[in-house]
């Protein structure tokens, strides 16, 4: 009875493992018990920080720097949780996320998770200024100077036709989880366009690069801060200007995106028990240029996020030293 023996073997191991593992589960974090993970340093880490990583490289750049400082200056262990924006907020309720490092508005989520449920709190601005809009490559503006006014977009809809756009013009959006009013905008501004989702930031960037190199027409959703603006020029389309509250009803939006002051959100629990890690997150504040620099290193210079963060930290001690709690 070979199988019985195998089963018994597994059980013996399971019990033994449970015996020696059980003692370590007592910390409240509930996951990743690798308390001996920072081997080499020889000291136990001060705690674990679960940081949500949303799907754009700018976020990753900020996270890399905070991660580097937490691990190397404050001796924390950082667990990165790759998630879309809204699930990250949910994660603060379920306990799988402590920190959202770059939040884009999301007033509805703030209302739900901060005011109503009380599971999250704001932790101040990142210093980054966010812009969302529709962009075309620069050569198109030279060729069709009036294209930057949204009222003229219908005139050029044929240029933007693709195999995926149902005979209309294509408006290329990013990841379905990104902040976007584009479907409502197309509808409410009566534009002869179809929103097509590329699926990710990288796909948008690739489309922009091809559109510039091969002079292919492209209208796409994009945003700042973004390293790509250092590499090629995109021109923003002028939508009806944003006024306070014009985007209150997501189905009826007919105006541009608001200027975003990107901010940090942390779970209530982390704000109470996070100690110096929470202080560092709260103090973290830098410029769009700084973020773009790190993001550029990660994307184009073949650096891992850790290496890129290390390079920035070593070059800018005065900036980050102000974030370290006394």
């Amino acid at each position: 009875m070979n199988k019985l023996r195998l089963v018994a073997g597994v059980l013996v191991l399971g019990l033994a493992a449970a015996g020696c593992g059980g003692a370590k589960v007592d910390d409240t974090s509930g996951a990743a018990p690798s308390s001996n993970a920072s081997a080499g340093a020889g000291t136990a880490p001060a705690g674990t920080v679960k940081m949500a990583i949303n799907g754009w490289v700018g976020y990753e750049a900020s996270a890399a720097v905070v991660d580097y400082l937490l691990e190397n200056k404050l001796n924390y262990k950082v667990e990165k949780v790759n998630l879309a924006e809204e699930p990250s907020w949910q994660g603060m309720e379920s306990g799988s996320v402590d920190v959202v490092l770059e939040n884009w508005g999301h007033d509805d989520l703030k209302k739900k998770y901060i005011e109503e449920k009380g599971v999250a709190v704001e932790a101040g601005s990142t210093g980054n200024k966010g812009v969302i809009g529709w962009y075309v490559p620069e050569w198109m503006v030279q060729k069709y100077p009036d294209i930057t006014d949204y009222k003229n977009l219908n005139k050029y809809a044929d240029l933007f036709k693709t195999s995926e756009s149902d005979g209309k013009g294509q408006l290329l959006d990013g990841d379905p989880s990104f902040v976007t009013n584009d479907e409502a905008l197309v509808k409410n501004l009566k534009l002869d366009y179809k929103v097509v989702y590329a699926g990710s930031e990288a796909a948008l960037i690739k489309a922009a690069q091809q559109a510039t190199q091969q002079q292919k027409p492209l209208l796409m959703y994009f945003y700042e801060p973004q390293w790509l603006f250092n590499q090629l020029k995109l021109v923003k389309i002028n939508l009806p200007p944003y006024t306070d509250g014009c985007d209150a009803d997501p189905k009826k939006v007919a105006c541009d995106y608001p200027p975003y002051d990107l901010d940090k959100i942390v779970s209530k629990k982390f704000s109470e028990t996070g100690g110096p890690a929470y202080e560092l997150v709260k103090n973290f504040n830098w410029t769009n240029d700084a973020q773009n620099q790190v993001a550029d290193d990660i994307t184009n210079n073949g650096m891992t996020p850790e290496d890129a963060a290390k390079k920035w930290v070593e070059a800018n001690p005065t900036v980050w030293q102000a974030w370290i709690p006394q």
């Binding site: 070979n2 020696c20 593992g21 370590k24 993970a37 667990e79 699926g199 990288a202």
Partner: protein, 641 residues
């Protein structure tokens, strides 16, 4: 020689006239459908409406759950406990596996391999786990292993008793079997939303979602094993005065154990295929790297965790597979070998440090990406041409037809088609699914998804059939093809999205390419097996009657392999649907996009959940249409496999 389906053939002696009628009926129906389409085009279409009241109703239900998660007794005393319990189980596995350190874990794997199948399996285990370490995947792999093991453990704890019940009682089986059918057909994407609603995101939901996918084989194969225990042995045991429980424990279970172990094997395989998907709901592990690479359009970075999953799959597969084969070896040798390997591994942990040494890791991401970049840069014209040909030549026209035809006409056409292929019952179920989809207010998106699935399935089945025929006719070709197909089949389906994205950009064609790579191996294999199963004597007879090779294939082999061919089509279509849905992550849109958006945008939650239901219905419909082989000709097959 058109074989009329049993349901349509009249029981009275068939006159020549009736025969002609039967022969012409399909063509007549087809003409009728086309005529109706021309007349009724653009009437009774169901355009998509994001604001359907059903979606709002689901959103309200979600809000209710969100508000009452910590007050309603259903959550307080049931759901939340389940969540906590499952999370504890995962943490336990994770803690244990991490505490072993890498040498310990390799030692344990070697020990279990030795116990199950001797030194060969032990060596495979060591090599594969070492490979994972060398690829720099150790930590993520431990998380994946912990999640997989928790899900498999739960599947077995729940699945084996249900399987035993189903194996003993035909009435239980009648209830369980259709439920399992649906569980296996439905695209895995569709149940992420409800699972997340109940259990929030995190490892607990991930384990439960994995379990839902992994439990059907555990139940099915256990039931089969129990059913097949020789009745004479059972009778002998009963006549000796054994109670039912004794018979179960001492006779049935031990005799069924080999087969049940194979069930474990299948359960593990199913669980591993969920690894990438559950990363979307905050499960740690290799899936995270895959999804991340997908967002970065980084082929190399996606391939590496894919290989990691394959290596884990190989180890678990070989151990369970060889455990299912009886082998005679002295008990002392087995156990002492096991003990030596485990102790050696664990003892090495403090010496070698629990984390896999970084200097042993090798980097293969860059060379892979260099190749991809080269192809991208040089084949641009060709890939763009392919994409546009399929999009403008096949996808758009078909989508136009499906979205401008009245919904009742499509339903009738599907009814007629399924009736012709698989019988009236299947036809009615398929048509019923379509009516339900119309009621879900997701008709247009469903037709878009159906378009992609049909095009992908046709391409896949044609190519698979060609490969299968080639392999069946030439041993040399079969020998070359087999390892390629084996490799393609074991890689997680997500890994295929990446090369497809890199080559063809984002869109429907990319999803088609990915599902092609995913489903072709299965189709080719089923076709090859079906053709090889045609008895040699029949071929001999046909040859001696003067058939050419070509006649042999078309008049003898293919007709005789009809049921395998239909099964191949069935599997090809179901797998294609699963992959096309995942294609939403790379811009394939339609229902899959609704599901993705539902997970990540709260106002789209209702639409996403309903889209999941529509996907299940679409899956059932496609399965019923092509069920002819397994359902009608061989009623046993579906129940067993």
């Amino acid at each position: 020689m058109v074989a009329a389906p049993a349901d349509m053939a009249s029981p009275v002696p068939v006159t020549a006239r009736a025969q002609r009628f039967v022969r012409w009926l399909p063509a007549a129906v087809a003409v009728l459908v086309v005529a109706l389409y021309v007349v009724f085009k653009n009437t009774a279409v169901l355009p998509h409406d994001d604001d359907a009241s059903l979606f709002h109703w689901v959103n309200d239900a979600r809000d209710w759950v969100d508000e009452n998660r910590n007050t309603s007794p259903f959550f307080l005393f049931f759901v939340n406990y389940v969540r906590l319990g499952v999370a504890e189980l995962f943490t336990l596995f994770q803690t244990a596996l991490t505490a072993l350190g890498w040498p310990g874990l390799v030692g344990v794997a070697a020990g279990l391999g030795w116990l199950a199948g001797g030194w060969r399996i032990a060596a495979v285990s060591v090599a594969a786990f070492a490979g994972i370490g060398v690829l720099g995947l150790w930590d993520a792999s431990v998380d994946t292993l912990a999640l997989t093991l928790s899900a498999v453990l739960l599947s077995l704890v729940i699945g084996i008793p249900i399987g035993v019940l189903a194996g003993r009682s035909p009435s239980v089986r009648r209830i369980v079997s259709p439920v399992l059918d649906v569980m296996q057909i439905m695209p895995t994407f569709s149940y992420l939303s409800p699972v997340v609603l109940l259990f929030l995101i995190g490892p607990a939901s991930a384990t439960i979602a994995t379990m839902i996918y992994a439990i059907p084989p555990a139940i099915r194969i256990t039931a089969l094993a129990i059913e097949r225990v020789s009745p004479t042995v059972v009778e002998a045991s009963e006549s000796l005065g054994a109670t039912r429980w004794q018979t179960m424990r001492k006779v049935r279970l031990p005799m069924a154990l080999n087969t049940i172990t194979l069930g474990v094997n299948q359960t593990i395989a199913a669980a591993l295929s969920m690894v990438p998907l559950v990363a979307l709901i905050a499960a740690p592990g290799l899936g995270v790297d895959l999804i991340r690479a997908l967002a970065r359009v980084n082929v190399g970075a996606a391939l590496v965790p894919g290989i990691g999953i394959v290596l884990i799959a190989i180890v678990l597969d070989r151990i369970t597979r060889s455990a299912a084969v009886s082998r005679v070896r002295s008990r002392i040798v087995s156990w002492s070998g096991f003990a030596v390997l485990v102790v050696a591994g664990v003892a090495l942990t403090p010496v070698l440090a629990p984390e896999f040494p970084e200097q042993w890791e090798i980097q293969i991401v860059r060379p892979i990406n260099d190749v991809v970049n080269w192809i991208e840069g040089n084949w641009y014209g060709f890939t763009g041409f392919l994409n546009d040909t399929v999009a403008y030549g096949l996808l758009n026209p078909l989508q136009d037809v499906l979205t401008t035809a009245p919904w009742w006409l499509i339903t009738l056409a599907v009814l007629a088609f399924a009736w012709r292929i698989s019988g009236l019952r299947a036809g009615l179920i398929a048509a019923g699914c379509l009516v339900a989809i119309a009621a879900l207010s997701l008709w247009e998106h469903s037709m878009e998804t159906l378009t992609i699935v049909v095009v992908a399935a046709v391409i896949t089945i044609l190519a698979g059939a060609l490969l299968g025929i080639g392999a069946a006719r030439s041993r040399w070709f079969a020998a070359v093809l087999r390892p390629v197909l084996d490799a393609a089949q074991t890689m997680p389906s997500f890994s295929y999205l990446l090369p497809a994205v890199a080559l063809f950009g984002n869109g429907r064609f990319t999803a088609i390419i990915a599902s092609f790579i995913y489903a072709v191996p299965v189709v080719a294999r089923l076709v090859e097996d079906g053709l090889r199963a045609v008895p040699g004597t029949v071929l001999e007879a046909a040859r001696s009657a003067g058939s050419t090779d070509r006649q042999l294939l078309w008049k003898v082999q293919l007709p005789m392999a009809r049921s395998s061919l239909l099964l191949a089509a069935n599997q090809g279509i179901v797998m294609t649907l699963a992959m096309v849905v995942i294609g939403a992550l790379v811009g394939a849109g339609a229902l899959g996009y609704d599901v993705v958006a539902g997970i990540s945008q709260q106002e789209d939650y209702g639409k996403g959940l309903v889209a999941g239901v529509a996907l299940v219905l679409l899956g059932i419909m496609l399965d019923r249409i092509t069920q002819g082989a397994s359902g009608r000709l061989n009623p046993e097959k579906k129940r067993i496999a």
